[in-house]
């Protein structure tokens, strides 16, 4: 499988100045809104500590909580399925749809179904799948994966959306005002809720003690998908479990505040039992999670509640765009999850970070994201997955930095080099740092020279 080249892929996104600047500004704006919400709650840090501890407790007893959820959900009248991997998940969904004779599926946003590549699987078998979240629908119609786990089309400008919609759902190509585009999607999508044979959602949380699950959305599309067709299927990753109803207080208070800077999502729905005359199926999906649970130093990534705060704050993500990660999960959280799916394919991603730690400090469940990024770099170096240029550069840097004599020589050479070497030699293809930047002017002398003279 081909290695994702994050730097190369992001170079395509960077080409459009308008897109990069807007993307950066929009996500930083979300970060600012998140800060204002967090600062308005005196117990915010206590909530983070609680959320982290509740998740760690659940993960350390996950087997028991999964069984408890299964037992209670079944007693409530849900049908619970278990999928070891993406293929089994997709097959289960297809079989359930088949047992209902459902040919049209309306679904709300679910990163898990993206992870399982469910849509093409179903479409190849004649099922029409309609993504109903506006951002996800834009991406579906443009045949692109989501670029952000909360705002899937954040890398697009209104003109891009107008182009996609005029090509696919017949809007006026000259009209790109946002309310017109959103209204067009509303009118296009609503008839599907009425005629669909089945609705599908993901879940943000699954509560073991009540056998219920929670879906947090703003558009109303998940509840239309779940409450109109007579079949509702929910795909839930096994790490979504929490023990008690009261734990939701902690997580729901933080989820939307961290994601969008709003106190709660417009619609926070709790599904405990099917509507009379309907069926409610839950698919509990492993797909690598149980293996990740055993990975020392990496399992805390399973605490993630998919708020996207780490993406919004990340300087690399904001300036490279989610699609450049070439994976379902992008940004800092993607950087630490993706290598567990395929180390070789995603070996470049842990280097798409400045290790500034901003992701860790905004994470509502206190995942040590930047430390895990650093740990992945070590794993990748040990398993010999570094590209040649990086490996050689690191090998030479290691030798130079471990010898004071070599280091002093190198500093002198660099000072002289920057002053006298021609540009073409300094900005050579191996100098990745200098691709979009000017190297700083070298100071006249080193600190050591100054110190020896002035001590």
């Amino acid at each position: 499988m081909k290695r994702v080249d994050h730097a190369e892929a992001s170079s395509h996104f960077i080409k459009s100045k308008a897109h990069v600047e807007f993307h950066d500004k929009r996500l930083w704006d979300l970060r600012g809104k998140r800060d204002r919400e967090a600062e308005a709650i005196p117990e915010w840090e206590e909530l983070r500590a609680l959320a982290s501890a509740i998740k760690e407790h659940t993960l350390s007893h996950l087997g028991d909580y999964l069984e408890q959820f299964d037992r209670n959900a079944t007693a409530n009248g849900m049908q619970v399925h278990w999928a070891r991997d993406a293929a089994e998940h997709n097959q289960i969904v297809h079989d359930v749809l088949g047992s209902f004779g459902a040919r049209v599926l309306v679904k709300s946003k679910s990163m898990l179904t993206d992870e399982c590549e469910m849509r093409p699987f179903l479409e190849n078998r004649g099922i029409e799948v309609i993504e109903t979240d506006l951002g996800e629908r834009i991406q579906q119609l443009d045949d692109e994966p989501p670029s952000h786990i909360v705002v899937p089309a954040v890398h697009k400008l209104r003109g891009d959306v107008a182009e996609v919609f005029s090509r696919t759902i017949g809007t006026d190509p000259k009209k790109s005002d946002v309310p017109y585009l959103a209204e067009s999607q509303r009118r296009h999508t609503r008839p599907y809720y009425l005629k669909a044979g089945a609705g599908m959602t993901g879940a943000n949380f699954a509560v073991a003690e009540t056998g219920s699950f929670v879906v947090c959305t703003n558009e109303g599309n998940a509840d239309l998908s779940a409450n109109l067709p007579r079949l509702h299927i929910a795909s839930i990753g096994i790490e979504k479990l929490i023990p008690r109803l009261e734990d939701l207080g902690v997580f729901v208070r933080m989820l939307s505040r961290s994601a969008l800077g709003s106190p709660i999502t417009q619609i926070t729905s709790h599904f405990r039992a099917p509507r009379p005359g309907s069926e409610l199926h839950v698919v509990l999906v492993d797909n690598g999670r149980s293996e990740r649970l055993g990975m020392e130093g990496f399992w805390p990534s399973l605490k993630c509640i998919r708020c996207g705060a780490c993406m919004n704050t990340c300087p690399v993500y904001r300036r490279s765009g989610g699609l450049s990660y070439g994976a379902t999960y992008s940004g800092p959280i993607g950087v630490i999850i993706d290598p567990t799916f395929n180390l070789r394919k995603y070996s470049a991603l842990p280097f798409a970070s400045t290790l500034n730690g901003s992701c860790t400090s905004v994470c509502p469940v206190k995942i040590d994201i930047h430390e895990q990024i650093y740990r992945w770099r070590k794993v990748i170096a040990e398993r010999n997955q570094l590209p040649m240029v990086k490996k050689e550069a690191m090998r030479i840097a290691g030798r130079v930095l471990s010898s004071p004599r070599l280091y002093r020589l190198a500093v002198k050479a660099a000072q002289a080099g920057l002053d006298y070497l021609p540009r073409s030699m300094i900005y050579n293809p191996l100098n990745a740092w200098g691709k979009q930047r000017e190297l700083p002017k070298a100071p006249k002398g080193s600190f050591r020279d100054w110190y020896l003279k002035n001590r």
């Binding site: 993960l59 278990w82 089994e88 509840d223 109109l228 405990r272």
Partner: protein, 183 residues
């Protein structure tokens, strides 16, 4: 071995060392204003007679469906939720409200048809102000959660900011949410 047993066996083999489950406090420190918080989320909180309010606010509404005896609609609730498609105004009474977020709590007991909360163009929710709890920690200790098949904390109209962050209210569900204080 079934998939269930395989997953559970692998989970149990790989579980990290046990971490204790903390108690969750009620965090009563801050006094929250229901009306202010609902307004931030795009909802409106009004006082007075709900029927008079609906007549004044939605003079052109052709179809009004109500599930509360406090307000008379002009069409009985259908059996099929899809038949709510042309409803202009849905009316329902909430079980309780949450001050911290400006949310109202609705379940199948109040909505009768869950889709009533989403398919109509506008939703009017009656709320007894005495039922407003301070924050989400109180809300999640409400026994109603344990009985409802389906329960929703609704906070303002359906909304989206998926295109350039421009806020559009009335994404796919209700275009407006008004909460009428009414005992």
């Amino acid at each position: 071995m079934s998939s269930r047993d395989q997953i559970l066996a692998r989970v149990r083999r790989n579980q990290p060392a046990a971490v204790a489950l903390p108690e969750v406090p009620l965090f009563d420190g801050v006094v929250h204003d229901f009306q202010v918080n609902l307004a931030r989320m795009g909802g409106e909180y009004v006082q007075g007679d709900p029927t008079a309010f609906i007549r004044a606010r939605f003079p052109d509404a052709a179809v009004i469906c109500s599930t509360t005896p406090d307000v008379c609609g002009n069409r009985p609730l259908p059996d099929d939720p899809a038949a709510l498609e042309d409803v202009d105004v849905g009316v329902v009474r909430a079980r309780f409200g949450v001050a911290e977020t400006g949310s109202v709590w609705l379940s199948e007991a109040e909505l009768k048809l869950n889709a009533l909360g989403f398919l109509p163009q506008h939703l009017v929710v009656l709320l007894d102000p005495k039922t407003i709890v301070p924050n989400l920690h109180h809300a999640y200790r409400h026994p109603a959660f344990r009985e409802a098949r389906y329960a929703v904390l609704m906070t303002g109209p359906s909304a989206t900011a998926d295109i350039e962050g421009v806020l559009v209210r009335g994404a796919q569900g209700i275009r407006s949410l008004t909460v009428v204080a009414c005992r």
